[in-house]
Amino acid sequence: MSNPAMTQSAQLEPAEKDQSQIEQKRMIADHFERLARAKAEGKKVVYTFVPGNLTELIGALDMLAVLPEINALQSGMRKKSAGYIAEAEKAGHSEDVCTYVKCDIGMLKSGNIGPTGTKLPEPDLLLLSYTGCFTFMKWFELLREEYKCPVVMLHVPYQTDGEITPEMREYIVRQLKDVVIPAMEQVAGKKLDMRELSRRLQLSHRAEDDLVAVWESARHRPSPIDGYFGGVYYVGPIFSAFRGTEDAVRYYQMLRAEVDERVRRKEGPMTPDGPAGEERFRLVVEGPPNWTSFLDFWRMFSREGATVVASTYTRVGGLYDKGFRHSPDEPLESLADYCLGCYTNLGLPTRTALLEDYIRRYEADGFLINSVKSCNSFSAGQLVMLRELEKRTGVPGGFIESDLVDPRYFGKANIENRLQSYLQMLEARRGRASA
């Protein structure tokens, strides 16, 4: 399944950097340095997935997280993914399956060099947070074959009806207590300190408050943020190794202050070419971005004056703008609710309702689906969502297709044509409405 980024690549850096971006870059560099020193310092390394990640638990046990999805998207940004995917396909992996998996396998077979150019440490534990994506299970089975290390499974039930039942919560909490935490303690060589876990969850809560304020800022006109391309930066720390840390709290305070300042100045978001010009279109986007041509993709929007005011991709690692917060008072229960609420763990009707809410709440002119070949968890059903959303809101939808990290499926001219036609249609519609 697809996931947001710790954005590190030089090619992704917009023309001007906010202080928060500089801070994020430092945080990521520090994290990869810690990973590089992990084995020498006796630190244990846990590989896990972004949706349903248990970062506070990992941190409370003094272990370090590696997120293979992020390695894959980083490889896409650094133009390495094509080679890695070819390597995996040569080794027998089907052309039909998730390119994140193949990119990760190919990277492993090519020396496992991470985004900062240093070799990533091998995992001491594969923490299979099985949340919203069936491929996750296969992915870690494949990695287990390579690394010969233990795997611990956390099965997160699917929220078919948009409701967390006590049985779902209890099932997860029991797994945490009886299976996951004991397995983690064994690898960590220490017992979990529940006070430390609660302290970290309190920090998560604070960062989540600030992130939600950032999302909410898109109700302003112009929106001071781009909630999709820019949103990828914003979710970087909280979706990855930093939730539950002072670093994350500081980052989100800084980000919120910058956004508040842009609101005060009535400024739009930053784009790859500098500050955004006039806000001509407000869009909601469903589906992950393409990573191999991320900047090109972003510019297709920003150069047309299209700002994304909300996106669902930025909710795969946690859905906070509907009220959920990690809670220090009920640590395991709140970890359970967090996992259950990740975007791709929600049934299609709930996902559709969320998009409908975003379209209305952020007064979008249109909504666009970027359907990626690699991710059936996202993609299967998107055409039904499209029809349903048009019916419910009267707002026209657009549909484009690409892939996460396989450049063979990013047809730049085709996507650009489709997007421009779509925006022209929105423009014409607006003209008719005002005539």
Partner: protein
């Protein structure tokens, strides 16, 4: 009696099975409903749902395998991108064409993202119909996963009761479990016969016999299977000089019957497979003992004796061990991986299974299909080359 019936004692029952297989209007289900006023027919996507629970509630479980190669998919295609497998398209086509109107509800078991999301699509397109997701646990501890699963079963049962199904008594549930066990024992006898004398019961015939169970109650299906078994004993058959193979990867979207026959024609005796795996999903009997709560018995069967397949987490077990055991048990000489195009679970599993076979020196080959594949020449050549190679050199090289 037809000429073929006269010469082949199994022909008549197999012809009945074929008729059910080809009947895309589910007329058998319609007849069942006429004969059981108030009874609900509940469709289920692959791989596994606990059928005895449905039968105990006076429901007919109906396995839905899409439209196969007999259905033009037009409307269904408009709901799915080109890179998604075919079974959700043809299933939706059946629904939009009215063929599934006979069903009072649909169950979508947790097997992959596509089938899961198809359940969501169903909810949105047919909000008036009963739809339930069957979240099969990946934790196999009775006190954790079992507790959750039993709760899931009770939740689904309550939903069905809300639609008019009968609340199942423990005794009715035990009786349904007994019927299911009995049916599955005959299926096992057929499987044993196929392994022993594959020329007496071809895989394509065994397929049809099992497939009839998609629309028949366990007891009636068992009667058909017994009829077939008795007929096969009388059948005159001679051994072929074929290669014995296991087929894996076809547990959800089904290959067309023509493909199975093509493999046979290419010199392969399919002595074990995972076609329409649901009926074989539990190894051995479900507990029938009156001292055991039947809900728990259903749960224990899934937790303790569910077969190793791609959508089931295997914990600390070694990937491929179960397949190798199947190869050995069936005295097979090779494995054919036959997966539906874009089938994530099967295709992601395949490299690990191939590696396990390589370590044991077991030959294998792989192919992909769609349920409506119509050209088998290439597959015939590939399977033929594989069987020749295995026969001549004991390897696929």
């Amino acid at each position: 009696m037809t000429d073929s019936t006269a010469s082949d004692p199994a022909a008549e029952v197999l012809a009945r099975c074929l008729a059910l297989y080809e009947d895309m209007s589910f007329s058998r289900v319609r007849r069942w409903k006429e004969a059981h006023p108030g009874g609900l027919a509940i469709g289920a996507l692959p791989i596994y749902v606990p059928r005895p629970l449905l039968e105990a509630m006076g429901c007919l479980p109906v396995s839905i395998f899409g439209g196969g190669d007999q259905l033009d998919v037009i409307r269904g295609d408009s709901y799915f991108q080109s890179y998604i497998c075919r079974i959700p398209r043809s299933t939706l086509e059946l629904a939009m064409g009215g063929q599934l109107d006979v069903l009072d509800g649909m169950l979508f078991p947790s097997i992959c993202d596509v089938i899961r999301n198809l359940g969501g699509i169903w909810n949105m397109l047919f909000p008036e119909r009963f739809t339930a997701y069957v979240d099969l646990p990946q934790n196999f501890d009775r006190d954790i996963g079992g507790r959750f699963y039993t709760g899931e079963l009770r939740r689904i049962a309550a939903g069905l009761v809300g639609r008019g199904a009968k609340p199942p008594s423990d005794e009715e549930l035990r009786a349904a479990i007994r019927r299911e066990n009995s049916r599955r024992r005959v299926l096992s006898e057929l499987s044993a016969l196929r392994r022993r004398e594959p020329w007496r019961l071809r895989a394509s015939e065994a397929y049809l016999a099992a497939r009839a169970g998609s629309v028949l109650e366990a007891q009636e299906h068992e009667a058909w299977l017994r009829e077939l078994l008795a007929a096969l004993e009388r059948r005159e058959a001679r051994a072929y000089d074929n290669v014995r193979v296991v087929v894996r990867g076809a547990f959800c979207e089904q290959p067309p019957l023509g493909l199975i026959r093509t493999l046979e024609a290419a010199g392969c005796d399919i002595v074990d497979d995972d076609f329409q795996l649901g009926l074989h999903f539990i190894e051995g009997d479900i507990e029938e003992d009156s001292s055991i709560d039947p809900w728990t018995a259903l749960s224990n069967a899934y937790l303790d004796r569910g077969v190793a397949t791609s959508s089931r987490y295997i914990g600390e077990a070694t990937k491929g061990d179960a397949l190798i055991e199947s190869v050995r048990a069936a005295a097979a000489e090779g494995v054919i991986f036959a997966a539906a195009s874009f089938c994530d679970p099967a295709l992601l599993d395949q490299p690990m299974l191939e590696a396990a076979l390589d370590r044991q020196g077991i030959p294998h080959t792989s192919l992909k299909y769609a349920e409506n594949s119509g050209q088998f020449q290439v597959i015939r050549e590939q399977a033929g080359a594989f069987s020749d190679a295995v026969k001549l050199w004991g390897s696929a090289a």
